[in-house]
């Protein structure tokens, strides 16, 4: 079942067509891979879906609702969480505070109603609320085996751990779909191995994953469905087996033979 899809989505930067009429589908409960050479428009597609960039044309349908053009913070509240290609942690906050930020809008019954009374409560009952958030955040850190670093500043973590913390922060919001932009970039083989284990765990948790990755071993191992972008256009979609043998994909990655 499709939980999210884009219809003829395009993004034009001046003369560059970064995303060109892309129909991208995300299937519920699966690990959806998004691959393509550098500059293919993968991150731009992510940014549009998560509301950080406005589409030039086209539509984004999430969970049966049209979310095109909604501000990023609203889209996040609907159940779309993400990580970033260039890590964006709250560096001067502690590890556990970072995860507590992921829980930010989970407080209160309805994230759209009773905002003022919620703010009021957050201020006057901060101690109690903090304790709740802290315990929940700690649970997520446990998921990542990170409780020992809970009071460390995020900037002091090693690179691989920072990437994991970013995933923890995104997961804390218990999203319906989790977008990961090159989570394995800069990781060593052991860290990549651990990441594969984590993605699998997330999938088992019932969260749909969308993953941009250049590490083919990782992609072919953990993705159930793969979409390939090249120069802003979707050139293929299918299972890892189908993608591996697709002549268009091979061409996009290796170049044309007569060149």
């Amino acid at each position: 079942m499709k939980i999210l899809e884009t219809q003829n989505l395009s993004r034009i930067f001046g003369g560059v067509v970064a995303v060109n009429d892309v129909n991208f589908s995300v299937y519920e409960g699966m690990v959806n891979g998004l691959i393509g050479p550098n500059g293919a428009g993968k991150t731009t597609l992510f940014n549009q879906i998560t509301g950080m960039d406005k589409p030039s044309r086209g539509k984004i349908i999430f969970d049966g609702k049209d979310i095109t053009g909604l501000p990023a913070w609203k889209i996040s509240r609907l159940g779309i969480a993400r990580t970033f290609q260039n890590i964006r942690l709250y560096k001067e906050l502690t590890v556990v505070e970072n995860v507590m930020m992921g829980l930010h809008f989970k407080v209160g019954k309805d994230p759209f109603k009773a905002r003022f009374s919620q703010a009021f409560k957050s201020y006057f009952l901060a101690r109690q609320e903090n304790k709740e958030l802290y315990l929940k955040a700690l649970e997520w850190l446990r998921f990542f085996d990170m409780e020992d670093e809970a009071q460390e500043f995020a900037r002091n973590l090693p690179y691989g751990r920072q990437r994991e913390l970013e995933i923890a922060r995104a997961l804390a919001a218990e999203p319906k779909v989790l977008f990961l932009d090159e989570p394995a970039a800069g990781m060593n083989p052991a860290e990549t191995e651990h990441l594969m284990f984590i993605v699998d765990k997330i999938k088992k948790h019932g969260i749909t994953v969308v993953l941009i990755e250049h590490d083919m071993k990782l992609v072919m191992n953990i993705c159930d469905n793969i979409t390939v972008l090249s120069f802003g256009q979707k050139i293929a979609e299918g299972s890892p087996e189908e993608i591996k043998n697709d002549p268009l994909v091979i061409e996009a990655y290796l170049g044309r033979e007569e060149d």
């Binding site: 998560t50 509301g51 950080m52 501000p71 990023a72 913070w73 609203k74 996040s76 509240r77 969480a81 993400r82 970033f84 964006r88 942690l89 709250y90 560096k91 001067e92 906050l93 502690t94 556990v96 505070e97 507590m100 930020m101 992921g102 930010h104 809008f105 407080v107 994230p111 703010a119 957050s122 201020y123 901060a126 609320e129 903090n130 304790k131 958030l133 802290y134 315990l135 700690l138 409780e147 809970a150 009071q151 500043f153 922060r169 995104a170 919001a173």
Partner: protein, 313 residues
Amino acid sequence: MVNFLQLIIIYAGIYALMAIGQNCITGYTGMLSLCHAGFFCIGSYATAILCKDFGFSFWASLPIAAIASGILGFLIGVPTLRLKGDYLCIATLGLGEIIRTVATNLNPVGYQSVPRAMLFGYQFSARNKVQFILLIWAFVLIFYILFQQLAHSRLGRAMAAIREDEVAAQSNGINVTKYKIGAFVLGAAIGGVAGCFMTAYTQTVNPSSFTFMVSVMVLCMVVLGGMGNGKAVILGALIVQFISYFPQLVGLSSVIPAQATQIIYGLCLVVLMIWRPQGLLGRDKYRYGDPRSTKERLVGFFKRNPEKKGGRA
């Protein structure tokens, strides 16, 4: 000398309120604004006009001054929302100057002999400095506690997140616009309260005392003490006030020209930025989920127990 020292402490208290407001905007939310003199100005004028022309008491004028200043903060915050860093700094500087210019043009001589503040029939006059010190520092304490609570609540954490990374904050469902404007309004309102006290103390208002140097000084207090640290900015206010009145305090005002104080605190800032760029006290690190009770923590603090206990729940 003692008299002069008391005066400095009064001014330091008034500036500490301003620094608390600036800290809310710059230290918590990360917006480099430079128009606190404008908020100070509005607060001072509101109190002067209300007390003198409309017969309000000082206490009735206080919330109105805060609200007027908060509205101004809103009016400045909204158009400058998209600006960041230096651009925001320049734009707010310009807006702050506009406020002063408007005030000058409306009434170039300002207001004199504004009625005194009263509390339970007691008159606060400029002569009884000790009472005024108690009054102003009581308010510093109140606002310190209120803002400390804010900083360590979910709202304050959202502000910190915006300071650290706006894009990531949006991905965590934070309405960045709302929080930024909120921080501006709150910070401005406290600036207005400070202005209100200034009028109550000096009983005069003069547009020439709201130059952008005041804004710079307030920003210096925050940077010098430590951005985003409630105690630090109050310390910063004390230090900057002492430095700027240092020549008069030690009776050397005839030897050291007034301009020299600006050089002194310029130097202090340069040295500090090299030696401790995070400010004297730095940012305060709050340990969420410390399972010890307040009493246990106090005991631990006085025993100077090196053993780390917190962090687990």
